[in-house]
Symmetry: C2
Subunit: 335 residues, 2 copies
């Protein structure tokens, strides 16, 4: 690999996507990407006794299907990179413990898919690993209980609020020919513009998204027009418009090439999700279904994928702190 500019790491050995899978809940299955997902469950509990255990099962199921599609066994995997939104990331640790794969636990909030895939690609590219897995998840019910209110309260949601995706996405990476591959990763810094409204995650994450994207363009000497499409993770309607405004100040326009996973997984009007979707599982399940399907079909040959995260906790918000955001960016290609 080689460093390009200040922040971008370009891979030279084509860490490729050997397998990928997405597992979602009922509402996601009823959305516009319905046919894209590998598996869905009608049951919020996914046959388990708690929402947290259901979330673990989402990850476990996604990894199993991705391994099958890659025709690999868990014994073939050197490292698994995972994290989620639950306190102490129990979605990942309990979901993945049975695999017996050396585990690298991450916390990047909703940026986890590009964080985990970036690290997993770096391990493959450097020779530290032959095969790696990157996975993350979120669950509407476990997230609502932990970050907001128990569902039973029937709380009203603000117009800027986003709907946490119940879903997981898993990637299996290794060296391979003719597959989609991760060409580069740009890890982002924490950006904090002082947003304190915990019902407006899009606004808290947009500055980080702008910062990472501008660093990437500057590092590589490219612009939006050089890519077929630029996916952000879960900025939603509010965050997307803020991203456009922030980029405009830097004379950068991505409107014609931009899509946000949080705006395509649900039908905002029919599915009552307010400003869009969110959660680690949002960009993960869209990457590991719709996006990689389009890349495999040749519709996209050269894309940017940037998951965005809000690094708050209920405690930090109760203590009056603002919401720091972060975004990590992957350049994914297929010849």
């Amino acid at each position: 690999m080689k460093k390009c500019g200040k922040r971008t790491i370009i891979f030279e050995n084509r860490p490729s996507v050997l397998g990928y899978a997405s597992v979602v809940g009922k509402k996601e299955h009823e959305g516009p990407l319905s046919e894209e997902f590998d598996f869905y469950t009608e049951d919020s509990f996914f046959g388990e006794k708690t929402f947290e255990k259901a979330e673990s099962k989402l990850q476990k199921t996604a990894v199993k299907i991705a391994l099958e599609k890659a025709r690999l066994d868990e014994k073939d995997i050197d490292n698994i990179f995972a994290g989620d939104l639950l306190n102490q990331c129990i979605g990942s640790s309990f979901g993945l413990k049975e695999f017996g794969i050396p585990f690298i636990g991450l916390y990047g909030a909703c940026s986890t898919m590009s964080l985990s895939a970036g690290l997993a690609a770096l391990f493959v590219d450097s020779g530290a690993a032959a095969h790696t897995v990157a996975v993350t998840s979120s669950h509407f019910c476990s997230a609502e209980r932990q970050y907001r209110f128990p569902l039973n309260y029937g709380s009203q949601r603000t117009p800027t609020a986003q709907w946490t995706v119940t879903g997981s996405g898993a990637l299996v990476l290794g060296k391979g020919e003719g597959k989609p591959y991760i060409n580069s990763v740009t890890f982002g810094e924490i950006a904090d513009y002082g947003i304190k409204d915990t019902n407006n995650m899009g606004a808290a994450m947009a500055p980080a998204a702008a910062d990472t994207l501008l660093h990437f363009f500057s590092d590589t000497g490219t612009k939006a027009e050089n890519y077929d499409i630029i996916f952000t993770g879960d900025l939603g309607y509010v965050g997307t418009n803020l991203l456009y405004e922030l980029l405009e100040k830097e004379k950068t326009d991505i409107r014609c090439r931009h899509s946000d996973c949080g705006l395509i997984i649900f039908d905002r009007e029919k599915q009552d999700v307010h400003a869009g979707a969110s959660g680690c599982g949002c960009s993960a399940s869209v990457l590991c279904s719709y996006i990689l399907h389009r890349i495999e079909k040749g519709d996209f040959k050269n894309i940017l994928f940037m998951s965005t995260g809000a690094l708050l906790s209920p405690t930090s918000s109760f203590q009056g702190s603002s919401i720091p955001g972060i975004a990590h960016l992957l350049n994914i290609k297929k010849d």
Copy 2:
């Protein structure tokens, strides 16, 4: 770098410790390692309004001192690797956001020091980064409130309970001559022996420690006698004895070469810490003071350092789940 055996990654470009620092609280300063730490605060709040903000300040202070000692500026650092025990790792995100360094958030519970340092070394060794920082922290008061009871309850502690260290340790890594360097990393898998007692973390972590250490010995064809000393992170009295028992079953004896950071940072008898110390800050502050001082002086030339973590959350325990453990191992050398 090159893979050695199933799990061990051997570095070939000597990712070296250019600077390191430890920052602790009053009780740690009153313990046997008192003179080893760079900085201590008498005040549990460290001049802040909450324990969580105090914990963030521990990390920020440790990173600042480590950078000064390395004669580097935050602008020289390509990536910072950090995590902590607080929900959503706010100790790290709020403590480090001002540095403007691309941030790789981790969750490894008390294994975070060897997890972060292992990844930081891998980035330097592979050429992904010129300089990296690895840092973590814990705080007795924020941990008690989150995992157990508010301090004001004055709850009694069981004999197997451990005392969370208030402290942080930070390492600055880069290529360098004549410095201590990280020779290899062995990332561990999640081990779960069904322990459910949340007041007995040592027992929950010992199986993971045994598993990672045995993998390392098998990968490298070495045994305890090949190393000057083997440090575990925070197994405490109970976990240490369990580790000896588990290793004995595999005909491995490390007693004569073993030390546990959780048993040396406090005076167990005088300081009333029951089974010993724990927390991400335990192995971090001991590594970044006592251990690296001894290595620099030439007392130790070839050591193993293995932080151990318990991947539980209060939610998983309330739901009756057992406590999964993890351990990551570094081989640190100096010529």
